[in-house]
Subunit: 303 residues, 2 copies
């Protein structure tokens, strides 16, 4: 039985998953594993300071930028997160909604109180550039297939993504966005990707194209984005994540007529419990069997 | 060369399609075919009165309820419309957007000026009941597959729809909607379907379910829908078509917090030209070769 510390008040789903995975909830002093659903580092740092038996930390988030930025990371432990198929489908679903909302100009209609003229364009025959070929990018590519869109993936490895017309390296980002009717960000926030979508990339985007971000707000230079929207160069932006986040009241993005903002809802509470429980259970079973863990964090890559 | 009358001012796409299909634009007096892109019957009735050589009428709409209601229909002619694959993908795309917008509660966020709490649920694992197994229903079913939703089709024939878990007859509509998290209307408006979604069907729907209509407003009893929304029984309604249509200013549907209305934009002008041109060209070629026409109207069925 694997002793697991899961914070002061583990959810019912986590408690169940620990049991089903062959573990038992334990005090931090004798825990071999920490299951940490929170996204703030201070409590985790405290737990690690007390947990002298800890060998592995299972995080509840997909993005792990915060463990590096808050200096919680230590390579004394194995780190796993929720990346991969557990949350990817839900984030890809949200990316899809934001993308299609942009193409069909839904913002114009939602909340209107009059019958407005027809606007928007179909996703069929559109070209979509997805930055990131991980679980989210692969799921979104599959979801776009029956809609007749053509997908280009920009990713670090040349490994093909089923359904994508082409895979290009990050060095070709500016060229890859040039023909795209929409650019979707589904890439981890690391030192290499922070501010990736800057003035130059925005300028390289096709006039009228949409930018969709379901990853991390700081991938995008917000000031440059506002300029590209105000000049009329971009068709619009649909953002589930922002910089700063939460976006403060009065920020100009809130009221821009071609911007849709959702408050980081791609993976919502209704999903979080059951999906994360599944990941915890599977990884505990793998840990007991000495099999490779799912969602292992690569500290060199930063995700 | 087939003489074609295409109204007073045919679009560039229709002119091109007539040429490509082996026809030529002609005066109504000698036209064998009428291509009619408009949706109002009076001009068409006038043309038919003058067109003594006319044998076939190609309509530009998917729904043909108006030719019966405005008494333009006559079984002296062959009638074809835009139903089937030409427009179906675009209408299914819009149905998909409205469905997912409902599930993810997009109305709450679009136009908000503050970072709101997380709401909404995923389409994954949802049950969707599609009323209508024609081109739109089949396309929507295919599009829902990679999202992990389970589809039930309600249709007149028992013919299976690829990807749908089950097909049920119209007599089982109330039973079919009972388990569905959303009901999507993609069925022609006929004497048999007018007012189909009445108080009884709405009451049979699962509490919290969404109603999506991309077909015709009069399929739904609007007063009963408003009651089902105001009582809290329905999760919401997303409507690309309304009754009355256009929905008049001040109508209570405009301001309901769980209603999304788009102004009949499923097939928009950007698509209309090229898609309809393709149908005109193909059908002229079939007419010349005495092959069966696409989108043939069945006057008995009313669509």
């Amino acid at each position: 039985v694997i002793p697991v510390f899961a914070g002061e008040e583990p959810t019912a789903e986590v408690r169940q998953a620990v049991r089903d995975g062959g573990g038992e909830l334990a005090d931090i002093s004798r825990a071999e594993v920490i299951v940490w659903q929170d996204h703030t580092g201070s409590g985790l740092a405290t737990a690690l300071g007390r947990g002298h038996q800890v060998r592995w930390v299972q995080l509840g988030s997909v993005g792990v930028d915060w463990i590096f930025e808050q200096s919680v990371f230590s390579d004394r432990y194995v780190w796993t997160c929720a990346k991969g198929d557990v949350f990817a489908d839900s984030v890809a679903e949200m990316a899809f909604l934001l993308l299609l909302s942009g193409f069909r100009e839904l913002r114009r209609y939602v909340g209107a109180t009059s019958w407005l003229p027809v606007a928007g364009r179909p996703l069929a025959d559109a070209r979509v550039c997805i930055v990131g070929g991980g679980g989210i990018g692969a799921s979104l590519t599959a979801k776009l297939q029956p809609f007749g869109a053509t997908v280009t993936i920009v990713r670090r490895t040349a490994e093909p993504v089923p359904g994508a017309a082409e895979v290009r390296p990050p060095s070709e980002l500016a060229a890859a966005v040039r023909d795209a009717d929409a650019v979707v960000l589904a890439v981890p926030l690391t030192a290499a990707t922070c501010g990736l979508i800057d003035q130059a990339v925005l300028a390289a985007m096709k006039p009228g194209a949409w930018l969709v971000n379901v990853a991390r707000g700081r991938l995008v230079d917000t000031d440059a984005l506002l300029e590209a929207l105000e000049s009329g160069h971009l068709g619009g932006a649909a953002l589930d994540v922002t910089d700063p986040e939460p976006l403060p009241d009065g920020h100009p993005l809130w009221t821009h007529p071609r911007v849709i903002i959702t408050p980081h809802v791609a993976v919502n509470d209704a999903l979080l419990g059951s999906l994360f429980g599944r990941r915890v259970r599977e990884n505990l079973q793998r840990w007991a069997a000495s099999e490779p863990l799912l969602g292992r964090v690569d500290p060199q890559a930063g995700y």
